[in-house]
């Protein structure tokens, strides 16, 4: 187990006063079998006149806030103490075809994963994506092997290049240009999974700075990070993730893969929230009222091991 102190500061600065801001954020890490949030606080400055939390459709904690005080700077500071372990491995020998949730009506909760086989607002499943994915999906290949094969290919075929894409870059463009950043790789891999009828989820989180003993320093360190999870039917129907998103007993498991670093997630990955794509779990989004035409955004993430 690793303990981390996490600090995530988002600063908006405006040339002229903003008279009101409405925002939502996903800055409270999820409670998971392998992750526990020992302490967490999110402070917003100026202090919001209104603030509330709720669980969204995927079980993430979503926060609504409204700042009514005129401001030229909005600072959102999330400070969290987190305990992370390596997620347990999934025992499954099924071929990838048997991991299609729409065909697993024998698993009572598989229907929930069907949503993640469909396109979503930021992830189109186009023919080029399907064509790219196909090489990793020969008939009958075991599911876990298939997934890691796809992850490795993306890692090998694509160049990590900071600044090469923007928040609105579509999967098709990433595929064509063979470069991007972690958000792009995650969304591309999700698109590949969906093109084959598998359930792919986009996961928002952080990656710790400290390299594992003897290991290399990881890309995406000290920044928001993103990876992928894929639904798999465990061999033993009793082997589950515990409760599902909505608190009901779950069947099957989600395997978490980090295509940017070509590895399954481990105790250096801190999970914030998951959804269909980036749009479902944008760390901070909002609406402002202002005559200001220019604004800047600065994000600083600091993830320090406490051990």
């Amino acid at each position: 187990m690793t303990r981390f102190a996490l600090r995530h500061v988002t600063t908006y600065a405006y040339a002229k006063a903003v008279t009101a801001s409405y925002g939502t954020h996903y800055l409270h890490p999820r409670e998971l079998d392998w992750q526990h949030c020992a302490a967490t606080s999110v402070t917003i400055s100026p202090e919001p006149a209104d603030l509330s939390h709720h669980l969204d459709a995927y079980g993430n904690t979503k926060t609504f806030f409204q700042v009514t005080e005129p401001h030229t700077e909005l600072v959102i500071t999330a400070a969290t103490e987190l305990e992370v372990r390596i997620p347990p491995m999934i025992t499954t020998t099924v071929p990838w075809e048997r991991a299609r949730p729409s065909e697993r009506t024998d698993r009572p909760e598989a229907w929930r994963a069907v949503e993640f086989t469909l396109e979503s607002p930021l992830i189109d499943v186009s023919e080029p994506v399907r064509a790219y994915a196909r090489a990793s999906f020969p008939a009958g290949r075991p599911a876990v092997e298939t997934l890691t094969h796809l992850m490795t290919r993306i890692h090998t075929d694509f160049e990590y290049r900071s600044g090469s894409t923007t928040v609105t870059t579509r999967v098709a463009e990433v595929l064509a240009r063979r470069q991007g950043v972690c958000q792009d790789f995650a969304q591309l891999m999700v698109a590949c999974l969906r093109s084959m009828g598998l359930a792919g989820r986009y996961v928002s989180g952080y990656l710790a700075t400290r390299p594992p003993p003897g290991g290399p320093r990881l890309v995406g360190a000290d920044a928001s990070h993103a990876w992928v999870s894929c639904w798999l039917p465990a061999d033993d129907p009793a082997d589950t993730d515990g409760l599902d998103d909505r608190g009901a007993p779950a069947t099957g498991r989600w395997l978490h893969l980090d295509p940017t670093n070509n590895r399954l997630i481990d105790e250096s990955h801190a999970t914030l929230a998951w959804g269909r794509d980036y749009g479902d779990v944008t760390p901070v989004r909002g609406v402002i009222y202002t005559t200001s035409s220019s604004s800047s955004l600065d994000v600083a993430v600091d993830m320090v091991s406490l051990d």
């Binding site: 908006y12 396109e119 955004l297």
Partner: protein
């Protein structure tokens, strides 16, 4: 049989009026007799009357363009509310224009027994869909059990995840209320197949439109065919709206005595803007746009002149996705930021609830019979049109192999229109198959229903006889949930559709408006029909003699007026445009008189050219008559230019353009205005159309049209003076008029009195100015002999008793300012106004008029004086706008960060 010339359509269709052997079906006898009694040509005359009545009431429909309604409206709203150029009506030119509503005078008749069967089917269907809605946003048992295919719900654009209930029991989570929002209103499109069976073609659950049009149709038909209407024992529509009103009040989440209900509209560019505004005024609830509302403390508030007022219920006519730029579609300008949160907290009821559009989903149709058994424990009474959902492999293969016999329909409206397989050539067929195969769950195939036909007068004119033609119709029905059950409107809106794919009536065709019909449900029994829901609505004697639907319901203590800045702004500009158009029409008439008297004497320094230049200057229709390159206009040029100044709607400053601005402002506040306003506007438009047609006019038609437009504008003045409640909206309208009149008078004086001229010319010009300022009679009464300049200025500027003078306008504005809520003596408006009044009193006009004349013949002091006054009035207008008409800012999305590592050599290189 009567001698009515009507032939039912071919045998493969059901005819509503006639059985195959030529006998009349129940209910039709009275109509057929009545139509049979008409004189030749009368039906055609009635159709003309219908068109005229619809025009008089300003009934329009805006056919959808290729892009989505919401996008188009968003653009329009942005353009409209970007306050840089109020005068820019031109923005509307790039947008689809409102087109006249089309109504067939011949009603679609159903007898009560038949209707009873329809009604039972509709109520059951509403209950069923309501149960489905509750489940998919709540417990999701239907999905878990596989009764509903996941992809049919989760793959639909209107399944709004922020509205899905969260895990129960979470502290601070108030989610349960989200899923629990019942389906408030549903509209259905029905068709009757060849066997006479009624079939549901589609369910409208997003924000159903058409109920207002249905009522409007009823009113028009009852007026053009009063005898038929009176004698038919037909059910009234009024009880439905009564139920709707009560249901809306009852929907309020908090226990208040007098809940605030508003109708949320995307604005005047929305397809069914008329329907929305008409419904709002029928119900007596204010029509608001998204930016008129704001969220504070998790509640929704309406902005008002001097306060915020909490909103309890929102009748939503904005598509849900566009209703909240924060949690739904980012960048929407039609919504209210934070609305989803307010709904989540249960502080406001939105109907139809956010997310209800997921039921507008043909992918659900194949599952409905089984769902009905499961949820309601009974068979589905009214079938849906036979549908195959491509998300299911067997059904997909059926669709692909039977493409020629089917209509292919996307399950979401945003995915384009339905196509008829048999219409496709090989290439487009292949393209369609590829589209379906890429996303099968987004499509259905549906059988083509041979819709029933009914008599229509639509082609009567072209046949040249009083004959009727058989045309096919789709029926739109409406139901409202009230007190835990559904009430169906006893009637509705039929749309004539001759070509499939017919789904999506009314007017689902790009670029044109479809013909609609009133639906008459006739009682068998003697006496007036009782409404099944509320019992007899009116005593027999009244309903038989009054014979008309009730007018707007009485208004609650809130009254009808909404004092949001947008509404005040529209009313202010209503006043300004009306005055501007009126003053220009008067000036054109006065100038035309001088033209006649001088026999079109166009000598450059003569009185006529001076006045012509004044036309150009005061209306700012440059270059016009002040074109420096022009040696002097010819007679033909002059007439052409004057026509253009009156008629050319594309020309900024013209009478027509000001009337267009006036109409546009009126459309924005339709629910605030009396119906008479539309009649007057339509009359003005007709007289301008007549002049446009008279291309060879030598001036008589121009004068005639200007007079008609003028009398229309005077009628408007009368309506606003006599029929409008004195509330902030009225005060601002009147301030707008006052400001504009003062500006126009000062402009007129500046361009007619400042230059030194030969005495006779001067007299003629001043006289024309007095005529244009409607003060000639007073002037003659007071002053005999030659017209003295100072006397003219005294009467038109300083005489506080002359309703056309500047001083009078200032006093009028002062009285209005004092009546507005939040009046304070120290406001800038008041200070500017008092300065103006003091300035007026402190100047000796004789001296100013006697001032020196410069080498160009200009009286410089007088010129400066008039110019200065005009500028001060401009400052007053600015102050009024700033204090009362400042529109709230538009929402902008916050920047979003791309999830990526910060650039840095230590990171990018270590791994690669």
């Amino acid at each position: 049989m009567t001698d009515l010339l009507y032939h039912a359509s071919a045998a493969q269709r059901y005819d509503e009026c006639m059985t195959p052997d030529g006998t009349l079906r129940p209910g039709w006898q009275g109509i057929v007799d009545g139509l049979g009694d008409l004189e030749p040509g009368e039906l055609s005359r009635i159709s003309t009357d219908v068109a005229r009545l619809l025009e008089d009431d300003g009934v329009t429909y805006i056919p959808p363009a290729d892009e989505s309604i919401a996008e188009r409206t968003a653009e329009a709203v942005a353009a409209n509310r970007a306050r840089t150029g109020r005068d820019e009506v031109a923005r509307a030119n790039s947008l689809p224009q409102a087109m006249p509503w089309q109504l067939d005078p011949v009603p679609f008749v159903l007898d009560a027994r038949e209707w009873g069967r329809i009604e039972v089917g509709l109520v059951q269907r509403a209950e069923l869909l309501n149960a489905v809605l509750a489940d998919v946003y709540g417990a999701q048992r239907l999905l878990a059990r596989g009764d509903l295919p996941t992809a049919a719900i989760y793959g639909h654009d209107e399944f709004l995840r922020p509205l899905v209930g969260g895990a129960p029991g979470e502290p601070g989570s108030t989610h349960d209320q989200v899923g629990a929002q019942p389906l408030f209103m549903i509209a259905n499109d029905l068709g009757r197949d060849a066997d006479g069976e009624w079939t549901v073609l589609s369910d409208r659950t997003q924000a159903p439109s058409g109920a207002g049009y249905a009522m409007q149709n009823r009113r028009v038909v009852s007026r053009v065919m009063p005898d038929l209407y009176r004698e038919a024992r037909l059910f009234r529509l009024t009880p439905f709206f009564h139920t709707m009103r009560i249901a809306l009040l009852e929907a309020a989440p908090r226990a208040v005595e007098d809940p605030r209900v508003v109708v949320l509209t995307p604005g005047t560019h929305s397809e069914t803007a008329f329907d929305q505004a008409f419904l709002a005024s029928l119900l007596g609830f204010p029509l608001v746009e998204g930016n008129d509302l704001t969220v504070r403390d998790g509640r929704v508030w309406m902005r008002s002149v001097d306060r915020m007022e909490q909103v309890d219920v929102i009748l939503r006519r904005v598509d849900a996705g566009w209703s909240d730029p924060l949690e739904l579609r980012a960048g929407s300008r039609l919504g209210v930021a934070g609305l989803t949160e307010a709904v989540r907290r249960g502080t406001v009821t939105v109907v139809n609830g956010l997310g209800s559009g997921v039921l507008e989903n043909p992918a659900l149709l194949p599952s409905l019979p089984q769902l009905c058994q499961t949820l309601l424990g009974e068979p589905l009474r009214m079938p849906s049109v036979q549908t195959w959902w491509c998300g299911e492999p067997a059904q997909l293969s059926h669709v692909l192999t039977h493409l020629d016999q089917l209509v292919v329909r996307p399950i979401c409206r945003g995915d384009g229109r339905s196509v008829l397989g048999s219409d496709l050539d090989a290439a487009s067929r292949e393209e369609l198959v590829a589209r379906i195969s890429a996303r099968p769950y987004r499509f259905v195939g549906q059988e083509v229903l041979p819709l029933s036909s009914a008599p229509s007068a639509s082609e009567a004119g072209s046949l040249g006889i009083s004959g009727l033609v058989a045309r096919q119709s789709v029926l739109r029905t409406f139901a409202i949930r009230q007190a835990a059950s559904y009430r169906v409107m006893t009637g509705g809106l039929a749309t004539v559709v001759d070509e499939p794919p017919y789904a999506g009536a009314p007017g689902h065709t790009t670029g044109r408006v479809r013909l609609t019909k009133d639906i008459w449900v006739l009682s068998h029994d003697a006496g007036p029909p009782a409404d099944p829901a509320t019992g007899p609505v009116l005593p027999a004697s009244i309903s038989r003699t009054v014979g008309a639907e009730a007018g707007p319901f009485h208004l609650g203590p809130h009254g009808q007026s909404v004092m949001v800045p947008r509404v005040l702004d529209d009313l202010f500009w209503f006043g300004r445009y009306a005055e501007r158009a009126e003053d220009l029409a008067r000036l054109v008439l006065a100038v035309r008189q001088v033209a006649v008297e001088t026999d079109l004497d166009l000598r450059a320094d003569g009185p006529l050219p001076v006045l012509l230049r004044a036309v150009t200057h005061t209306s700012a229709t440059y270059p016009g008559f002040v074109d420096a390159d022009r040696a002097g206009p010819s007679a033909a040029d002059t007439m052409h230019e004057l026509r253009s100044v009156v008629l050319d709607v594309s020309r900024k400053g013209s009478v027509a353009r000001n009337v267009a601005g006036l109409t546009h402002a009126a459309q924005g506040v339709r629910d605030q205005l009396s119906n008479d306003v539309w009649m007057v506007l339509a009359g003005m438009e007709r007289s301008m159309v007549a002049l446009r047609a008279a291309r060879l006019d030598q001036g008589n038609q121009l004068a005639d049209t200007s007079e008609r437009v003028l009398s229309g504008l005077l009628a408007l003045t009368g309506i606003t003076a006599e029929n409008m409640v004195r509330d902030p909206g009225w005060y601002l309208l009147d301030i707008g008029r006052g400001i504009e009149r003062a500006q126009q008078v000062l402009g007129l004086l500046r361009y007619t009195t400042v230059v030194e001229r030969p005495r006779d010319d001067e007299s003629m010009v001043s006289e024309a100015a007095l005529v244009a300022a409607e003060s000639i009679v007073t002037f003659r009464r007071r002053h005999s002999g030659r017209i003295q300049r100072a006397a003219v200025l005294e009467l038109l500027i300083r005489d506080a008793h002359n309703p056309r003078s500047v001083a009078y306008q200032l006093h009028r504005i002062r009285a209005n300012l004092r009546a507005l809520p939040g009046f304070v003596e120290t406001a800038r408006t008041v200070r500017v106004l008092e300065d103006l009044l003091a300035g007026l009193a402190g100047v000796d006009l004789e001296t100013v008029c006697a001032s020196a004349v410069d080498e160009r013949g200009l009286r410089t002091d007088l010129d400066a004086y008039l110019k200065g006054l005009r500028e001060q009035i401009g400052l007053l207008a600015d102050a009024v706008e700033e204090q009362y008409l400042t529109q709230p800012l538009q929402p902008q999305p916050m920047m979003q960060l791309h999830v990526q590592a910060q650039p840095g050599p230590a990171r990018g290189t270590s791994q690669r």
